[in-house]
């Protein structure tokens, strides 16, 4: 059966997708081709999410299936091949806040949209963002926070960028359950994303991708 991995995975048919991968590996198919199909499938997943056909569980599940495919393919790979073309985005949940679900969704959506995401994790001190901006030269930074307390951490992080002379070099987007335009103003961010898709749109705009 020459079933289409891309669509099978995009439709979240786990068993079938894994069977196709196994079959192709058994037939000594190019592992990079498998990963490329998987990447295209993730793009479709992202698109369906953007169109509200898919929801958070679909993203999470597609990620779980992808993890399995990667595990199957990895032993056959000569070297890490993937390069991202969309540009770099630094992401992290700000200091004092350990929530990661929202951030992880944005990371996922940026990733499937072709960005190289530098995920700093949760409870990230301002200095860590500064260091990463300097090191990577990423033009876009995403600050996540679920708690209202995160407003202050976001402001402190953005202030620290100003103090380090980096504020003009990056665009900053913020996101999280209680974020509004008032919070954007308060923190000194450039914009906020009401959901993950707005985050991707902002990153694309700022990175000059149409």
């Amino acid at each position: 059966m020459a079933k289409d991995l891309c669509n099978t995975l995009a439709d979240l048919k786990e068993d079938e997708a894994l069977a196709i991968v196994q079959e192709r590996l058994n037939a000594n198919a190019d592992p990079l081709g498998i990963l490329d199909d998987a990447r295209r499938a993730m793009e479709i997943v992202g698109k369906r999410f953007a169109e509200s056909k898919y929801f958070i569980p679909d993203l999470v599940y597609s990620g779980e299936i992808l993890k399995k495919i990667n595990e199957m393919v990895k032993p056959k790979l000569a070297k890490e091949a993937e390069t991202k073309s969309g540009g770099k985005v630094i992401m992290g949940t700000v200091a004092g806040d350990i929530h990661d679900i929202g951030k992880d969704i944005v990371v996922f959506m940026l990733d499937v949209s072709g960005f190289e995401v530098l995920d700093l994790g949760v409870d990230v001190p301002a200095q860590k963002f500064i260091d990463k901006i300097k090191e990577s030269g990423a033009p876009v930074v995403g600050l996540s926070g679920f708690l209202t307390l995160a407003f202050d951490s976001m402001k402190q992080t953005i202030d620290a960028m100003k103090d380090a002379g980096l504020r003009d070099k990056v665009k900053v987007m913020i996101g999280g359950g209680q974020i509004t335009d008032e919070v954007v103003k308060y923190t000194g961010a450039d914009a906020y994303g009401k959901d993950a898709m707005v985050g991707v749109t902002l990153a694309k705009k700022w990175a000059g991708i149409k």
Binding site: F55, P57, I98, L147, F151, G177
Partner: protein
């Protein structure tokens, strides 16, 4: 003669529980004035919930997280480790802002208790988060997917021997506990007790006793607080809590990622486990309400928010078991008080399938006018005053927002002014503006 509880309709039971709450037996009020205020406030809330007659004005409830602690100039760490300080902070908050309904002082919880048992499910001030921040949940798979069968077979046994040792570091030796249902006959009975003689198990029990003493101390302080705040004229609108079965799995056991993936990989087990949890969640709510003589049972709603599930998933996995819990509580005269933090716009048409005048819903990021036309036809609505506005807005912006809320929701009753999400930070003048404006503008004529 008074009708027996078992012969009463759910309407009569609700009325009886409300009367118990409005006229608490043996309560000693600080003054005749405090008693009068208490009854007025409680009656106002009752009228809004029952949707039978108009209250005298729109009631106001304030549902803070750690705000009272900051407002009193303390840190969350102070509040979690000194119950007197905690109580002083919450009393100051309630007396200063004078809402009709409050949620007592239990939100911070006993830090030392969590410390003694080495609780892993949360990080709290000084333990994983800064002393200045509130506690936060640690996402994780605290039950593996293989353990569904153990949970289904014998949930209490599963909790004792697997779940508790995993989420409380001090109870790790409980993995060695016997299964209590093995204690049956003369011969062999003693064998079941051998684990209790093992030194690590005994250490775990010592920690448990120690933790129990701390919990008792805290419980005493909370009981004293509720009696005191009531004596001063302020009704408490929460007797205890229960949860949606889906959230028990998603928050407590399998974690967000776990429960989401289970919907695809093991839907039958997930459904079975939720089904099994329904009577347990009902008993939890009924027990708390009866013990407190207070009809309100809080139900924090988490993983069913907008975007967290598709419509189909919500209808299949989330709502049916939650509805069964809510309906059983209603049957016992209880007022289920679900709080939907985040968005719930896509669920309004579904959750309106409830009898009228029985529930109070706290809504957060929601189109309130739409909520009024749907869920609001059968349930009392509260909330939607945004945390960001309370924190960063001006009193005038708060008044404008409150006016909009009252104009679109208050007509015909069934509406309570309140904040939308449990808040840590706000400007005091903004909370005053919300309360004072509602007291003036929210009068029913």
């Amino acid at each position: 003669m008074e009708k027996k509880w078992e012969d009463m309709t759910s309407d009569e039971r609700q009325e009886a529980l409300f009367q118990k709450w409005i006229s608490p037996e043996g309560a000693e009020f600080a003054s005749a004035e405090a008693e009068k205020s208490y009854k007025e406030r409680a009656t106002r809330i009752k009228d809004a919930i029952q949707m039978k007659k108009l209250p005298d004005r729109v009631p106001i409830c304030l549902f803070p997280s750690f705000y009272p602690v900051y407002y009193a100039g303390m840190t969350p760490h102070d509040a979690m480790y000194d119950y007197e300080k905690n109580n002083a902070a919450f009393k100051k908050f309630i007396v200063d802002f004078a809402p009709d309904g409050n949620i007592s002082a239990f939100v911070p919880g006993p830090g030392k208790f969590f410390e003694i048992l080495d609780y892993k499910l949360y990080s709290w001030p000084g333990h994983g988060v800064s002393p200045n921040h509130s506690y936060q949940a640690n996402e994780g798979e605290y039950m593996t997917v293989e353990e569904y069968d153990d949970l289904l077979e014998d949930p209490s046994n599963y909790f004792y021997k697997t779940y508790l040792p995993r989420v409380f570091g001090a109870l790790e030796p409980w993995q060695q506990l016997p299964t209590v249902t093995g204690i049956l006959e003369m011969y062999g009975v003693a064998a079941n007790f051998i684990p209790f003689g093992l030194p690590p198990v005994q250490e775990a029990f010592k920690a448990l006793f120690h933790a129990g003493e701390e919990a008792l101390k805290w419980g005493g302080a909370m009981g004293a607080f509720s009696a005191d705040i009531m004596a001063n004229g302020y009704p408490v609108t929460v007797a205890g809590y229960t949860k949606a079965p889906f959230d028990v799995i998603g928050d407590t056991l399998r974690g967000t990622r776990g429960v989401m993936v289970d919907m695809y990989r093991t839907p039958d087990k997930l459904l079975k486990a939720m089904d099994m949890l329904v009577p347990i969640m009902i008993k939890m709510g009924v027990g708390a309400a009866k013990a407190a003589g207070n009809p309100f049972i809080f139900i924090p709603l988490h993983k069913g928010a907008d975007g967290f599930l598709s419509d189909e998933q919500y209808r299949k996995f989330y709502w049916p078991t939650l509805r069964r819990v809510i309906m059983a509580l209603i049957d016992e005269g209880i007022v289920p008080f679900p709080a939907a933090e985040g968005g719930y716009n896509s669920r309004l048409e579904i959750v309106r399938d409830l009898p009228k005048g029985k529930t109070m819903w706290m809504l957060d990021k929601i189109d309130m006018a739409k909520a009024k036309k749907t869920l609001g036809q059968v349930a009392c609505l509260a909330g939607n005053m945004p945390s960001a506005l309370l924190n960063l807005g001006t009193p005038q912006q708060i008044k404008d927002y409150a006016k909009k809320l009252i104009d679109s929701c208050a007509k015909g009753g069934g509406y309570i002014m309140s904040n939308g999400s449990f808040f840590d930070e706000a400007k005091a003048e903004n909370i005053h503006a919300m309360v004072d404006f509602t007291k003036e503008y929210g009068v029913y004529k």
